[in-house]
Structure formats: C-alpha cells, structure tokens
Amino acid sequence: MITEIKTIVQNYLNNSMLCCLMIGTVTVDGIQVSEKLTIPLDLVVGNRKASLVIGDKVRMLRDHGGQQYYILEVIS
C-alpha cells in the first residue's frame, strides 16, 4: 500500500512538471536542454529572447506545467 502511494505521488509530481531551473544551448530549432529535448522558441519568453545568438548558453525557469520557459540569464 505505502509503495503504491509513493509511486502514485511520484508519477503525479513528474507529470505536473513543477517549476525548475534548466540550462540549455540556443540552436536553430530552439533551445536544446538535453539530447532528446529541444524547446521550441514559441514557448520561450522574456526580454532577453530577442538578443539570443546561436550557441549561447542560457539559464531558464520552467513554468509549472512545462509549457512556458522564461530566460533568466545568458551564461556564456
């Protein structure tokens, strides 16, 4: 029973996509955060978006739900 509850809570948390910090690299298609996941620029917001250059490494804040990403800073 306890194990099941733990699994359910774990799955729920994974699914709800809480806020978190992410680091990614700007590419042609969007911002690549892992080998599999490139975030389309449509979902990226923040006033630094306009000045991004391909190859920039950025730190982003993922909004709850995972459908919006706010650029906090350009690291390098």
Partner: protein, 312 residues
C-alpha cells in the same frame, strides 16, 4: 473459428482446444485485449508470441501474448494485447505544427509498429513540450484537443495488426440493436452529475496588453430546468474574443446535454468494436437513435455474445 498461436517458430491451430475466448475493446482507452484459456499438455506458449483470431472468417484480433499461467488441470489461461500496448512507453515529445495524424505516424515509426489508414484530422495542435509522458496519452490529449476545437472525434485503434486513426463518423454500422434485434438485457442511467454544464465562461488573459476579458455562452432554458452548472476555464494563449466565443459555443453544445449510459447484453455481431456506432431502438426507455460504443466485450465460447457500454 480460426485460432492460431505461435510457439517458437511453429504455428498451432487451437480452435478445438479453447474453452474461453473474450475480446475487450475500449474507445481511446488503451489497447484491446484478448483473454483465452485452453486445455493442453505439452503446448508451451510463451510471452511475446503472436495470437491471431478470426471468427466467421472475420478478422477479430492480432496481437502478442503478455501474460500466461496454468493450473493442475492443465488449463492454460493467456492474456494478449494488440500493438497499442507498446505505446505505453514514456518519452519526451515536442509538438510543433503537428496534427494527431502526424503524431501517430511518428509514434508508429518510433516503435516500429505497423499502421494502416491514418485519417488526416486537419487540426494543428498548439506547440507544446510533453516531457516524461506516455505516447498514447499524448495522442489521446491531441484527440480531445481536436474534438474541442473542431467538433470531430477520432478513434485510435489497432485493426488486426495495423494501427489506424479514423473519424467516428465513418465507423457507422448498418446495424440495429434493440427490442426485436439481438438484445436480451439492458441497463441504463441518465445523469447531470458529471460533464454537464449549461453556462460556459472563458477567461482570456492577455499578457501583452495586460487586460483580461470574460467570454460567456449559456442556455437559459437548460438553466431553468436543471439549475446553473458553470464551466470555467482560463485561456492565456493568444486567442482573440471571436475565437474564444466560438470555443465557448462549441463547449456549450458539447456539455449541455444529460449524459446517458446504457449497457446492453446482446447476441454477438463481429463488426462491433469500440468507436463503432449502431442504431438503438428500445421502446421502454424511448431510445430511438444512433449510439456510439464506448466499450465492448465479446465472448465467443460456447456461443458468441457481447456486452456493450454506450455513451450518447
């Protein structure tokens, strides 16, 4: 009846041995399932083996063994699922300029699954990132987004070893079920307890202009009859008032009706699967219209019967 299973590299025809065959199919809720038992001494069925089942020369099921077990009486019971079972894997998916059709094609290619007719849904899904979600849920979400925005409903299913996407409209059968046709028992209920709304309120939040606006759509007669049941949703996407209004109207027509559930016990008809629709005719409950099958279980041994759950 034709019942073929593969064990190792060999094919076995076991239609003479089976003691129970039941096929369950649900509309857009996972894969279809074939459960069967047979009595035999030395047939060592293994997981992953192919099961092929035809009844009256009609293709019923093509799938793979996922579970099997037995008892002292040498009765072996097996559960097999179709290809959609493999789509329960989680993945990271980015949808951009995708329709449900292109997503389904991507899924089939990714898992190496065979596909058949994939109807073009014609609705481009909003750009989104689906992280750590199962493929099949991503597709179902897409299907319900398509339904809300276009009013067309699609069914994802495996038809004898080929994944298909079809509009429910084309799955109409020329079949009547009711008082004088096949039905031998039924149960029904009417409810406004779930998914019933007669007033729709959409709240538009425009971040750029920093304004907000409420779009409403309601049915006065329905409110008088049932009391006001409100649906509320915040849309923070870039939709304008006209789009929101048409969405509100769409939601109202979708939700402003009593949900009726009906289960029917009938003699079998092999054409009936989840998503098919037939004409229901039962005088006692004033039923006289087309119904869509939500869930169906066919039992083939000793005689073919089916129990249906329909939504209206």
């Amino acid at each position: 009846m034709e019942f073929i299973i593969t064990v190792g590299d060999n094919l076995y025809e076991i239609s003479e041995l089976v003691t129970k065959v039941s096929f369950t199919d649900r509309l857009n809720d996972g894969c279809s399932k074939l459960e069967f038992s047979f009595i035999d001494d030395d047939l060592n069925i293994g997981n992953g083996g192919v099961v092929r089942f035809k009844y009256d020369d009609i293709n019923i099921f093509y799938g793979y063994v996922f579970k099997h077990g037995g008892n002292k009486k040498k009765e072996i019971s097996v559960t097999a699922y179709d290809q959609l079972r493999y789509c329960k894997a989680k993945d990271v998916v980015v949808t951009k300029n995708d329709t449900v059709t292109s997503l389904t094609k991507r899924m089939c290619t990714y898992f190496g699954l065979k596909y058949g007719v994939l109807t073009d849904t014609g609705y481009i899904l909003p750009t989104s990132v689906q992280d750590n979600k199962t493929w099949i849920d991503i597709i179902y979400t897409g299907i319900s987004d398509t339904l809300v925005n276009t009013g067309k409903k699609f069914a994802l299913r495996d038809e004898f070893g080929a994944i298909t996407l079809r509009e429910l409209e084309v799955l109409q059968l020329d079949l009547i079920l009711g008082d004088e046709s096949l039905v031998y028992d039924y149960n029904y209920s009417h409810s406004i307890d779930e998914d019933f709304y007669n007033q729709i309120k959409l709240y538009i939040k425009d971040e750029k202009a920093q304004t907000s606006k409420v779009i409403a759509s309601k049915d006065e007669n329905s409110i008088k009859k049932y009391g006001m049941l409100q649906y509320f949703e915040v849309i923070d996407k870039d939709s304008n008032a006209a789009q929101a209004k048409s969405k509100a109207d769409m939601l109202l027509s979708l939700y402003n009706r009593e949900t009726e559930t009906l289960t029917l016990e009938c003699l079998g008809d092999t054409r009936v699967r989840a998503g098919s629709s037939f004409y229901g005719l039962i005088e006692d409950i004033d039923l006289n219209r087309r119904l869509i099958v939500k869930e169906v279980t066919h039992n083939f041994v000793p005689t073919h019967t089916m129990s249906l759950e329909v939504s209206i």
